[in-house]
């Protein structure tokens, strides 16, 4: 129907038409809010996902070597062997004492009681004093490959440094004594996260993951429930356009998720973990709002495919799990095979993570974030359009 014909009928024209359009959409938005807040379990889950879960992820998940259990089989019992064993220090290692036999050490490794076993041969100390080449054995449990390789490299470094000191015949190697020796001094300066706090990365990644999950799940569940109950048919028979039916869902769910995000960011990410928030928080929330709206499109798309709530649950897991893997929340993108990185470039969540870190840690502005913004909009808009198209087509 053309706006002109309505002009004639309503007199006040476009304004009146818009007013009624908004009144209708608002009635549906209010409905979504009521339904959402009446679902106690869902509200509690959201509160958990944006606060406690983020806190747990920040505190609990740690990619550094901490308290690795160490056992020593010292067949030598010399000053040298004790010196080397003594250098495996806290907080990285925890010396749990000596092991009587090699077999006992092996057993403790197998059982998981120890992570590292050092094995000194009988004449280790004597060999070092005589200047003869010698070796010690270090057995490391690398079942968790990341932590295992950290332990291996730390251990290697400790032993290597001790060996260098003995070779140069100095009691303790430091900057003053190293003059004249061809040796590269390795002094690092970390940027953006000077103390290399894992909690910063983890808390941010977790809150963005949870925001993504909820942005998919809430609209999908709401629409699927309407399909199950038959209420969506009722809405289709009333004078509402598909946009009018779907937009209130995105608006209501999205605003609640954004509020949860804000609570989580201020209370946990900044409040507890002291993430500096170098860039504009306003920009961060604006980008998040955009991201939530487009991610809701994925949820609506799922709901147009699924026949009931159970299928929505399964499809959400199916979509969300690879998103988490490929987005860079768990693994650095650079470590992935090139075809996977291509796939990654197709994930809005990847751009959201980049933008989130960029704004909060690096203080980036719109100027530096144009690629991320383009990614979020360029990928999200077609998905939203597709879900709208599919929703419309279901009733044809």
């Amino acid at each position: 129907m053309s706006a002109a014909s309505l002009d004639g009928i309503l007199g006040s024209g476009r304004a009146a038409r818009l007013r009624i359009w908004l009144r209708r959409a608002w009635a549906l938005t209010v409905k979504e809010y009521i339904q959402l807040f009446r679902d106690t379990v869902l509200v509690l889950f959201m509160a958990y996902a944006f606060t406690l879960d983020v806190y747990v992820a920040g505190v609990g998940v740690n990619w550094q070597l901490n308290n690795a259990g160490l056992g020593v089989h010292d067949a030598d019992k010399s000053t040298a062997s004790r010196e080397v064993a003594g250098r495996f220090r806290a907080p990285y290692f925890r010396n749990l004492g000596s092991v009587a036999t090699r077999e006992a050490g092996q057993r403790l490794l197998d059982q998981g009681g120890l992570m590292v076993v050092l094995d000194f041969p009988p004449d280790f100390g004597a060999d070092i004093l005589r200047g003869r080449q010698t070796a010690i054995q270090m057995q490391v449990d690398t079942a968790n490959s990341a932590i295992g390789s950290l332990a291996t490299s730390y251990g290697g470094e400790i032993v290597g440094r001790y060996g260098l000191e003995r070779a140069l015949n100095v009691p303790e190697l430091n900057v003053d004594k190293i003059h004249g020796v061809p040796f590269i001094i390795d002094e690092t300066r970390a940027w953006y996260n000077q103390n290399q706090e894992d909690s910063w990365f983890m808390a941010l990644a977790e809150i963005i993951s949870n925001m993504t999950l909820l942005s998919i799940l809430l609209p999908a569940a709401a629409l699927a429930r309407e399909k199950e109950r038959g209420t969506v048919e009722q809405l289709m028979v009333s004078p509402l356009s598909p946009v009018q039916i779907l937009a209130p869902k995105i608006l209501a769910m999205g605003s609640v998720i954004l509020a949860g995000l804000a609570a989580g960011v201020f209370a946990v990410v900044i409040g507890v973990f002291h993430v500096p928030a170098r860039g504009s928080l306003l920009l961060f929330f604006a980008v998040s709002a955009l991201y939530i709206a487009f991610t809701a499109g994925i949820g609506l798309l799922i709901a147009t495919i699924a026949r009931n709530l159970a299928q929505v649950g399964m499809l959400t897991v199916l979509v969300f799990a690879p998103m988490i893997f490929l987005s860079g929340a768990w693994t650095p993108p650079e470590a992935m095979p090139s075809w996977m990185r291509l796939l990654m470039d197709c994930l809005p969540m990847h751009y959201m993570l980049d933008a989130g870190f960029g704004i909060l840690l690096k203080g980036q502005g719109v100027g530096e974030l144009w690629r991320e913004l383009l990614g979020i909009i360029g990928l999200g808009a077609p998905i939203l359009a597709l879900s709208l198209w599919r929703f419309r087509r279901q009733f044809r």
Binding site: I9, Q35, R229
Partner: protein, 732 residues
């Protein structure tokens, strides 16, 4: 089976409150009552799958109180839960389902083979034995469910609403099979149903309501237990009734005036629609007066069927009606007298407990001002008397194409012309045409899958037609989608309410959806709460409402914007007879006073009789399109009167009549119903009696019983099926 003081609670809710029942060996016992009466709870307790709080249930003398006791009884039980094919496995074929249940029950292979063949033959499922269950129709699923329940030859079968949601033809099949099985003896059946008109099928029934038995006994005795007279009358206006006719004209004029003010192009059509008031509006006012006094009143087309409780004979009943209607200037002629049926009894017995009850069980002393909050306030439906409130909040301009103007001029609310809808290669709706006038209640009947819902979905704009055209509420169906949606109300089978919202929130939502402004929305919400009889429950969650109330709430949600046409897709499923009556009161008043056209589908054949006009659908086509009276008259001419034969041995009588060519002979409790073939009732009755005597069956009495819409429906559909089979045979 025996139950003594049976009590079942769900949380704090007492579902069954002290029920005493005894079912004898070999009996066909019916549990009749609306949803929530406690039927399922009792059946599940007997089956040993539900624990209970009080009393005792004994099966074959064994108490079903302990796990061990229940297990012992289970060997002799067959239980079919509620819901179409709920106990079956959708991906297994018919035969695999049967085999599975037989293995579960350790049926010996030889017995299995023999029983399977017999049951499959009896249910006519043998042709489809390799077909997966999920591809069967509702009726076939129920038949397969029955076979699976019977495969271990139980001595007691428990069927929970086996006929709910099944079309009348399949329902009749189902009863035939059941009767055949029981005629062989040794089996006892306890069956629940929500259809009051199935009561006559049982040997004995228990009428359940809110966890109590209102009456127990043979259906006819239960019905006769409440004294009174049922009359059919045809009201005639003799006095100031014209006022009402005038008001209907006023409505059209009013609407026209509004349209004229805002849409200059509509003047011509509004004048013409004011001139063409489609019908006399006299019957409903008599109906309103009667409905206010008597609990069991049914409007049947232009006639009214009323149960006058306590009246000793026809004279007393007539006098009572004269006293009531005469004061309002309404005369009437008596067109028939019937026996009270179970629904009359149910409504009368329940009404005193129900807030809607007119005082007392009738008689001239009864008051006619029920004033409790549960009562719908019907006067709110007289839209014209509102002092010119707009009928639709926004008048959208529809393009003024010629077809619409023509329909408006003819005064048609809905005009479907050759509608077609394909799903893939399957033609769900095939060249359907019909028209509905303003103020008319139009019923669309048909079995599941006949295409009723698809037609409604096309007319309401949810589905677009593959072919054909039509106009709805004066707008072209294909192009005026938005305008149509502003002018129609729709209520689906599922009621489509948001159960996690309160009553008022639901109403406010739909007020907003229909674009009502704040003031109008507030007014209409109050109006709708009164109309639904929900005053005082505004803040109750919709999920907590009983079926009858949520149904009325759903209707009111669809009325907030005062539509011109109301589409109702099986709106009365699962609602008790009293709730259905109140619902129909609203529909009647809507159509008569406000001139709203109502298009309704229903699988309660008794409700089809309330419609002004019916269209019968079969396999996507409209195969009959007439008034209920005309359809019945056609059947009477075609297949003759329906006779009720009282005999000594009903099972043998049915077999004898079938053998003698009365194919539709069926068992109803202790008597037999048979369509006697065209001709005069007395003469055909003699023929039937002769056939029975020839077969050695002692005939006690033969009486004519009125044809029901169910008879019409079943007869028509069977004839069409036979025709189709014949056509197929001819091709092969």
């Amino acid at each position: 089976m025996e139950a003594a003081g049976f009590v079942k609670r769900y949380g704090k809710v007492e579902a069954v409150r002290g029920l005493d029942l005894a079912v004898a060996q070999g009996e066909l016992f019916g549990l009749i009552g609306p949803d929530g009466a406690g039927k399922s709870s009792l059946l599940k307790a007997v089956a040993g799958v539900l624990s209970y709080e009080g009393g005792e249930v004994r099966v074959f003398g064994l108490p079903v109180t302990t796990e061990a006791g229940a297990e012992a009884a289970k060997a002799h039980l067959g239980f079919m839960p509620q819901g179409l094919g709920r106990n079956l496995y959708g991906d297994l074929s018919i035969e695999e389902n049967i085999d599975f249940f037989a293995k579960l029950r350790l049926v010996p292979a030889a017995d299995l083979r023999e029983r399977k063949e017999r049951l499959l033959g009896m249910t006519r499922l043998d042709r489809f034995r390799a077909r997966p269950m999920k591809q069967l129709s509702g009726g076939m699923k129920q038949k397969l469910g029955l076979v699976c329940t019977l495969i271990h030859a139980p001595r007691l079968i428990l069927l929970d609403e086996p006929t709910t949601g099944v079309d009348p033809v399949s329902r009749r099949d189902f009863w035939t099979i059941l009767h055949e099985l029981l005629s062989e003896g040794g089996v006892t059946a306890l069956i629940s149903t929500a259809y009051m008109d199935e009561a006559s099928r049982f040997d004995r029934v228990a009428l359940l309501y809110q966890g109590r038995a209102l009456a127990v006994g043979p259906a006819r005795e239960v019905a006769a237990g409440t004294p009174g007279v049922v009359l059919r009358i045809r009201p005639e206006v003799v006095g100031p009734g014209e006022i009402r006719v005038a008001s209907s004209v006023g409505l059209s004029a009013d609407r026209g005036g509004l349209a004229a003010a805002e849409e200059p192009g509509a003047q011509a059509s509004s004048v013409s629609s004011a001139a063409t008031v489609p019908r006399a509006f006299e019957a409903p006012d008599a109906l309103e007066l009667l409905g206010a006094r008597y609990a069991s009143v049914r409007g049947l087309g232009r006639e009214v069927r009323v149960f006058v409780p306590g009246a000793a004979d026809e004279g007393a009943a007539t006098a009572a009606l004269h006293a009531l209607l005469g004061g309002a200037g309404i005369g009437f002629s008596i067109t028939g007298r019937e026996a009270a049926d179970l629904e009359d009894v149910f409504v009368c017995k329940v009404a005193p407990h129900h807030a809607d009850a007119p005082g007392g069980t009738g008689g001239p002393g009864g008051t006619d001002t029920p004033a409790t909050s549960d009562t719908p306030e019907l006067s709110g439906l007289d839209w014209t008397r509102d002092g010119g409130a707009p009928i639709t909040p926004i008048i959208s301009g529809a393009s003024g194409e010629p077809a619409r103007q023509a329909d408006e001029a003819q005064g048609l609310a809905i005009h479907a012309r050759g509608l077609i809808r394909d799903f893939g290669s399957f033609r769900a709706v095939d060249n359907v045409s019909f028209s509905v006038k303003p103020g008319e209640i139009f019923g669309l009947l048909g079995a599941n899958g006949a295409g009723k819902t698809t037609v409604i979905k096309m007319l309401t704009g949810i589905l677009s037609p593959t072919g054909g055209a039509g106009s709805v509420a004066g707008a072209d169906m294909l192009r005026g989608g938005r305008a149509i949606k502003e002018r129609i109300g729709y209520m689906s089978q599922a009621f489509s309410l948001y159960t996690d919202l309160t009553v008022a929130e639901n109403l406010r939502l739909y007020a907003g959806v229909y674009g009502l402004n704040r003031r109008l929305a507030a007014e209409r919400v109050v109006w709708a709460i009164k109309l639904a009889g929900l005053a005082g429950r505004e803040n109750a969650l919709t999920a907590s409402l009983p079926m009858g109330l949520s149904q009325r709430l759903a209707l009111c949600c669809a009325l907030l914007h005062r539509p011109r046409i109301l589409f109702l897709d099986e709106p009365t499923s699962g609602v008790d007879p009293l709730g259905r009556r109140l619902f129909w009161d609203i529909l009647r008043r809507l159509s008569r006073r406000a001139g709203v056209a109502v298009l309704i589908t229903t699988h309660y054949m008794s409700e089809a009789e309330y419609c002004d006009h019916l269209a019968l659908m079969y396999a996507g086509r409209v195969v009959a399109d007439a008034t209920p009276e005309a359809m019945k008259a056609a059947l009477l001419a075609d297949a003759g009167p329906m006779l009720e034969v009282d005999v000594d041995d009903p099972h043998r009588a049915v077999a004898a009549l079938r053998a003698a060519g009365f194919a539709e002979a069926a068992l109803h409790g202790g008597s037999v119903h048979a369509q006697a073939g065209p001709g005069e009732a007395r003469e055909r009755g003699a023929a039937v009696a002769a056939a029975l005597v020839a077969a050695g069956v002692n005939v006690r009495a033969v009486a004519q019983t009125p044809l029901s819409m169910e008879d019409v429906f079943v007869h028509r559909v069977l004839a069409l099926e036979a025709e189709e089979a014949g056509a197929k045979g001819a091709r092969a």
